[in-house]
Subunit: 348 residues, 2 copies
């Protein structure tokens, strides 16, 4: 691992997307969101993704022109977009801006995006919204991929279907980004590439046996990832994954039924403004109190105090911004390779 | 167990609330929602609750006058109510009606209710909304109760914080009602009352050891319920419980900080209208396909096909409506006792 300067990394990624035809605005948005993933410590969903995005642009699957984002329907508080596989970070930022404006006037705004390209790390989108005292929520699924089996079943049908929510407090925000399955496709792939075993037996092999071996996922017929809750309480994770499926592919009217093939995402974003409910001050007061009660809970394991979602990431982010980001070797290799493919010298 | 006629049970419950000063509308709403809990098989959250509600009315804590429901703030799509502990089912139905109307015009509607009295079974509210092609979502927490510990902690801070969502399809709807903890307070109480052990070791005793013994929850200091995901993935359930806390007590600006003492609920409801997004027909098409894919997944345990959330409850409901509801002995005893307290003869 070597520490890479965040600004220099942002510059390189932005330049690569600009070289692939993206406008300044699209390229800088994608670079910011990818970089933010690494700053928060989600290296499987950070700048490592740039290489794949750029390949998809060259292959004609991912779009770079913001005009590709088509508004299908719109009311003052709800929008349906069809992104025609425009780069996801730009689409999500656009949808969040619409929803935040609506929320400021009406209390809530919502936008669904169908046929977005991949949208990277959900947590990366939250802080720019929470810092205005607003609460963003993001749901996503990928209708081109099936990796999670419904509870009680063996055949993978849907994706980890994560949701993210940013919660302002008077101090640092709570940043939630969790999948509705026990683990993600990213972790399975990463563990397999490293030739390792998963920490917990949370795959089902194609006969229904629990497994820690990522290879059990890549058989024919394939294995599957268990819904959140596992064999005991996985009906809950399955229900939550179904909820995300409905809010993303269902609401947008484009999903598994349409058998899309390329890398993509069905997305739903909402923004809420506490000022139109009990007021921001009361909201922060309640959440401050909740944070403080959680933190003062006795530790289950001595020396490991309760941490609120996102707080470890925010501490990391602070450190990485001053000391540089210690990119894992596979991420650094992907960045170097993307730079070479794009005809740029990689300064790292 | 004896099978009780649904109509007769509804009549008795409604009459009891009317005798306690509730208007026809309030009494029939509460009776319908409680009965619906039993029809769907959630007997801990059905008519058994009537006794406690009626006691709270007599004690002056629960209110029966619909005028107690005060509108604190309102936009065309968002409302903040203060219920002054009006009976919860009436408050939730009122909030859902507001949100459904807003959704039909704008795509989405939302209402937060602070200081509601208890709101019973969340699943009970869904079908009257999904049958109009709309998607209701309900979140709730009880700021007067602490039973779930934050992930990594031992001291209970918050409640199981369930969410519910109704998803229309072209056939029967998907009805989701799940808590963000592995199990609920209701199950712990019921298991303790029966002198039994829990099916899974998902309590933490006050030293942090896993336990199946409900008594481990009632010690001093108390034990706690694990967040959904348990010891391995409970950071996700904790994050989801925190989300529900923010949308309910946070948004409403009334929660644990205010140290409420009586039985109550902080509630957030949303309704979405797919017609303002990709259209209801496309929505149902996508969800029909998802249901069919899930159902055709090979079974993990032979003879136990994949079931979609709520479908077992709906089959039960159908049967109970014609054959009567086989009320468990504890529920029947509670109904008889409520009738006696209210000076009514119980026909069962």
């Amino acid at each position: 691992m070597s520490a890479v300067d965040a600004k220099a990394l942002h510059g390189l990624i932005q330049q690569l997307f600009e070289r692939h035809g993206a406008s300044d605005k699209v390229a800088s948005t994608v670079a910011r969101v990818l970089l933010e993933g690494d700053l928060l410590g989600h290296h499987t969903h950070g700048v490592k993704l740039a290489q794949g995005y750029l390949k998809d642009i060259r292959a004609g699957h991912a779009r770079v022109d913001p005009a590709a984002l088509e508004t299908v329907r719109q009311t003052p508080v709800a929008a349906q977009y069809d992104a025609n596989y425009l780069l996801g970070p730009y689409c999500v930022e656009h949808a969040l801006a619409f929803a935040a404006n609506a929320a400021k006037t009406f209390g809530i705004g919502i936008a669904n995006i169908r046929r977005s390209h991949h949208i990277a790390c959900l947590a990366a989108y939250l802080q720019p919204v929470t810092k205005h005292g607003l609460m963003p929520i993001i749901y996503t699924s990928d209708p081109a991929v099936a990796s999670v089996a419904p509870f009680g079943g063996l055949d993978p049908v849907y994706t980890p279907n994560p949701l993210a929510i940013g919660i302002p407090t008077s101090q640092q925000p709570i940043l939630i980004d969790v999948s509705m399955s026990n683990i993600t496709n990213g972790l399975v792939n990463k563990t397999r590439a490293a030739g390792e075993q998963l920490e917990h037996a949370t795959l089902l092999d194609n006969k229904g046996q629990l497994s820690r071996d990522p290879e059990a996922f890549f058989t024919d017929p394939p294995g599957s990832i268990l819904p959140l809750g596992g064999l005991e309480f996985g009906h809950k994770g399955f229900a939550l994954g179904t909820m995300v499926e409905a809010l993303t592919a269902g609401l947008g009217g484009f999903g598994r039924r349409d058998q899309p093939e390329g890398w993509g995402a069905a997305v739903c974003v909402m923004v809420l403004d506490p000022e139109h409910f009990g007021g921001l001050q009361a909201f922060e007061g309640e959440m401050d109190h909740f944070v403080s009660r959680c933190r003062s809970s006795r530790e289950r394991i001595s020396g490991q105090p309760v941490r609120l979602p996102g707080h470890a990431g925010l501490a990391r982010r602070e450190r990485y911004l001053t000391e540089g980001i210690p990119l894992p070797a596979d991420v650094l290799a992907a960045v170097r390779s993307a730079a070479a493919d794009g005809g740029l010298d990689c300064p790292f």
